[in-house]
């Protein structure tokens, strides 16, 4: 009876089991950092999953976290710019939530946003733009409180808590669920960590060598097991987070990037920070098009060409300019030459990072 209340995808679990969590990480993957005040438990993750997919968690019951973070697209939405519950477009592209547990900085450009428990509040309550459009007084907490399913889920997630129906607890559960979305079973992982020589094509193997080649230097920003330079784990606080201007724009005027996407400058007000964005994980990159912070490059081929050119040139229109000459451009974006075969190999390597399991794993799927 109790189990039936947890929904069709809930696994039977003993009470003690739901108060613990086992990461079951494959070789090469460290244990993620988890805040001391929000330990991972199976019960909390399960509550977070229900909240993540619940459209009642929006102002008009039309959207949920999963609207912009869809499992089939590695928890992105395949749009250049996400659209909130009320139809208001976001200025940036939804980031993948895969391996977000390892992210030293969340969002594209805010160097201060480091904790998922804080970040989840932005889409819930933010109004620049409206994403889920919630307000604390709107009644979503009473809705959760009155729902028998949530009563049980909250009780198990926060046992002994006299008042678990708070925004803080909702944020903790959502954060726990998002941390649990680990992608580590791509063909590349089977090849590189598992020693399965047949897991990737010869083209992908050549592409891997190109990726780690000094002339391309892709790995300098997209390095390590998570292919990002903003990675932390339980025993590794990581180095200072770097954000990068890749020469995507150089428009006329004081700010060389089109507003409101001006990079970390938005938060630091330092001119040298204009156009600097996070180097996100490249895991599952082949299924998270369109690319860059604003989704302004449609294909992986386009992204490779952008880096090969050492910046993007836009011939006309409001964003016209030679990105190659952006004064804030990272010196690593110097451009390189690739043969047609090299380009295909590099893309084959990037495609080998696609983890089909994470896109179909029932533990991360819609429980409703």
């Amino acid at each position: 009876m109790v189990l039936a209340m947890l929904g069709r995808n809930a696994e039977p679990a003993e009470p003690d089991e739901v108060q613990t969590y086992s990461w079951n990480l494959p070789k090469g993957f460290p244990k993620p950092h988890v805040p001391a005040d929000n330990p991972m438990t199976a019960a909390k993750i399960e509550l977070g999953r229900y909240l993540f997919y619940d459209t009642r968690m929006s102002v008009n019951r039309k959207a949920s976290c999963a609207t912009c973070h869809q499992q089939e697209f590695a928890f992105t939405d395949s749009r250049a710019a996400s659209i909130g519950a009320t139809g208001q477009p976001h200025s940036r592209s939804a980031m993948s939530l895969v391996n977000v547990a390892y992210s030293a900085a969340l969002t594209w450009s805010n160097p201060r946003m480091k904790k998922l428990e804080d970040q989840v509040l932005a889409p819930m309550f933010g109004d620049h733009p409206v994403e889920l459009g919630l307000r604390e007084g709107d009644g979503f907490l009473p809705m959760l409180h009155s729902d028998p399913k949530y009563q049980l889920l909250f009780e198990r997630a926060f046992p002994g808590d006299a008042d678990p129906f708070t925004v803080k607890k909702v944020a903790k559960a959502l954060a726990a669920f998002e941390r649990s979305i680990i992608s580590a079973r791509s063909p590349y992982d089977r090849y590189h960590y598992g020693g399965d020589d047949s897991a990737v094509s010869d083209s992908a193997k050549r592409g891997e060598i190109l990726f780690f080649n000094q002339h391309l230097s892709c790995f300098r920003c997209h390095g390590g097991f998570n292919f990002s330079d903003a990675t932390v784990s339980e025993n590794n606080a990581g180095r200072e987070i770097e954000f990068h201007n890749t020469g995507l724009y150089k428009i006329a005027g004081m700010l060389s990037y089109p507003a409101p996407n001006v990079g970390t400058y938005e938060y630091t007000r330092i001119a040298a920070d204009v156009g600097k964005f996070k180097a996100p994980t490249l895991r599952n990159i082949a299924i998270t098009a369109p690319y860059m912070h604003d989704g302004s490059i449609a294909t992986l081929e386009g992204v490779v060409d952008h880096y090969a050119a050492g910046g993007r040139t836009i011939e006309s229109g409001p964003n016209a300019g030679i990105g190659h000459d952006n004064p804030n451009k990272d010196p690593l974006i110097a451009g390189f030459q690739l043969s047609r075969q090299d380009r295909a190999d590099l893309i084959a390597f990037l495609e080998s990072l696609t983890d089909e399991e994470v896109c179909h794993d029932p533990r991360f799927a819609n429980p409703w």
């Binding site: 090469g28 050549r206 891997e208």
Partner: protein
Amino acid sequence: MPRTTLVSRIFLLTCLCAALMYGQASQPQTPPATLTVSGDIPSQLVLKAEDLSKMPRETVSIPEQDGTKIEYEGVPLREILKRAGAPMDKELRGKALASYILAKARDGYQVVFTLAEVAPEFANEPILVVDKRDGKPLFGYQGPFRVVCPNDKAGARSVRMLETLEIVRLQK
């Protein structure tokens, strides 16, 4: 043999040779599994994987981000330099201390080690040229040879795809 048959056989042979030559040229360039030691030494030394397997070997455990340890196996750099005739042991003093090793990778990446860093009289732990990781030959962008510096905090001098060690003596 009729003339037409001879001509057609010559033609076929020519085509076959051309095909073989073209086939050879279109094969992907496999990097040579050799390590070259050059520079201010009596003569250039070229080592194959087989040569390295017969030299004194050591293993070192390097912690990975996941908390596990990777075991690298290879030849201490000092042994390679000794074989190449670089000043080591009692010769490593005075002007010889103004010498360095330029380690070059297949992709052009280069780092420098001083000769003293390699010698046990100065260094606490040997720098290795490794060819095995957890008992298996290095492959892909890691190999076939790479440097491992157990005492370095950062990994940037652990040159992957190592091809050349150039000895430079600033004072002779």
